[in-house]
Symmetry: C2
Subunit: 356 residues, 2 copies
């Protein structure tokens, strides 16, 4: 790397003092137009640019945003978080900010990790995702009194800025659609009660079943962890329930769980969509092109990212900020996996996509 | 945010000059042990920490690494890049660095984007991924004479530090395995010739077929873009080839393409693994638990990330660095999708995973 052009280089080139150049660069003090012009000429000729570190020192703003998510090396692709990161990077760039990755590493002391970044004035604020119950990051960052917004609600985050997708409303849409299609015995493959997101989605199922006056058999609610394999074994368990209790529809809380459930239905010699309806969550591209196409819930990640960044920048700029959680509604995407019951008038194999 | 503790605060607290504190903090000049102790006590009591921006100004090192990848909002989850980002973030943190996201946005002037970051001394170096033929980023960053390492080879990057996975060797392993299993008519579903990665993988197929003296029919090489849907239609095309030319095995360059191919085989009333062998690439978790399990090629991403970071830090620290591309070998993971031909002695449904 060639020696960087500094204020001193410019001063020497223009034949003036370091302080005079500094005044021109920072628009301070009285400088004659002629002198200003001479210094500007040197700045242009040398290609001088104020250094980011120097600017950060002066303005106390780094123009960096720390982005924290869970760094567990998950054995699955996190489609939603991929899209979210993509979108916040793009929006941040448009606003003149860069994203600094600050993963949550469980083995580290979360508190000191954030404190170091703030004390060193590395970042102007934080975006937190992969939020779980009593997330220690929320408390840590709140204590540091720096701007932050979370994607996802924590148990304890009532008074902090947060944007979330209404998973409860999403699952409710799926269950409504199944009831409208004639299903009465609807089961759900869900997550354990330690999962905040899972409980939220399960609540949507219980809401609608109750509102519709439909009884829920305990055996219809399967809770466990995993993805395709879990969906496969959970669906096998549901399909083994003897008639007349056997469910005719299976709601799942994740597309890859739905994928396993669809395989289990087929292994039993039944046809997905015609004999048993299956729904997913996320509208993951891999499952989008399955045959039959998977009915699922699509999260408005583009809008989530935009809202997160705008709430954060409002805080960074000292504007008053919303502290009520901002809830965005997901949409139902209807495909063949839920459409066979009662009406088989759709063309076999055609991807008839309806959004509600 | 409370007023930060600065050198001045420490000086006032210790009753000494700003310069004296600075000497202690930066280990410069002669300070008596008693005075040093007194100042250190003030530093500890006040919790003073040198500011990152100030340190960056002094040392000309930001301890930030720019990570550039393609920001196209791909309609699929990039499992490999997820793992890569995960691993470089973790390794960078261990080495005292943070990762700054510097996406490649096609609509922007790549050159000025990188130049700004370097001129502002925002980053100490770059990691580039999603490398394609004649990638403009390689030339831009090389011209700036800053440390950088790419994950993936570019056409023009002979003399730059780069780490890549040997996709050619990977596909070669899959084809060898199919030949060893008794297959002779082996087809491939590949990518267009504009894809650097795709050409590399296709070369591995052609190498082994030629070495084994097996003829390759033009109709056995399908090239196109897409994932599951593309795999489905490409396999349909291959299965429509009349006997005796119809392939008994289909190699694909991506797991989700293999997934579509497996669906097409089943739609034809054939059984994957028994009637037609199918192989993938990446060992994606979603396809890992398919029935039958997918034989695939696993990329050593953990090792790629480690090599990329260590090559980069060697450059940052002014050590001599390797400029020959560092090639890492992927491994073959054998599951049921390729095992039915000639030997059916494995238990049906069991996940017998063998790595070669």
């Amino acid at each position: 790397m060639t020696e960087p052009v500094t204020l001193k280089t410019v001063a020497k080139h223009a034949g003036v003092s370091y302080q005079t150049v500094s005044k021109v660069v920072h628009n301070q003090g009285q400088i004659s137009p002629a002198l200003r012009q001479r210094i500007q000429k040197s700045i242009d000729e040398l290609g001088y640019r104020p250094n980011a570190a120097a600017q950060a020192l002066r303005t106390h703003a780094s123009h960096l945003i720390g982005y924290s998510w869970s760094l567990e090396r998950k054995d699955h692709s996190s489609f939603i978080l991929d899209q979210f990161q993509h979108d916040i990077v793009e929006d941040a760039e448009d606003a003149g900010y860069h994203i600094l990755l600050v993963p949550r590493r469980t083995e580290h002391d979360v508190d000191s990790h954030f404190r170091e970044l703030v004390k060193a004035r590395r970042v102007d604020g934080f975006i937190l995702s992969s939020i779980e119950y009593n997330d220690p990051r929320i408390e840590s960052v709140a204590r540091l009194k720096v701007p932050f917004v979370s994607f996802g609600r924590s148990h304890t985050s009532d008074a902090t800025a947060c944007v979330d997708v209404d998973g409860r409303a999403g699952i409710a849409k799926a269950v409504h659609h199944l009831i409208d299609s004639g299903h009465r015995r609807i089961a759900i493959i869900a997550w354990p009660d330690s999962s905040r997101v899972g409980n939220d989605r399960l609540a949507g199922y219980l809401d609608v079943m109750s509102d519709a006056g439909l009884p829920v058999e305990p055996a219809w609610i399967v809770r466990g962890t995993g993805e395709t394999e879990y969906g496969y074994s959970a669906a096998q368990q549901l399909l083994a329930i003897p008639e007349p209790s056997r469910p005719s529809a299976i709601v799942t809380v994740l597309d890859s769980i739905a994928m396993g459930a669809m395989q289990a239905v087929e292994t039993c010699g039944l046809i997905v969509g015609r004999d048993i309806a299956v729904t997913g969550f996320d509208d993951m591209p891999t499952t989008r092109h399955l045959k039959p196409g998977l009915t699922t819930i699509r999260q408005p990640i583009r809008e989530v990212a935009r809202a997160v960044l705008s709430l954060l920048l409002a805080q960074v700029n000292g504007e008053q900020s919303v502290v009520q959680p901002l809830m965005l509604s997901p949409e139902l995407v209807i495909r063949e996996s839920s459409q066979g019951y009662g009406h088989v008038d759709h063309e076999k194999g055609a991807l008839s996509t309806v959004t509600a």
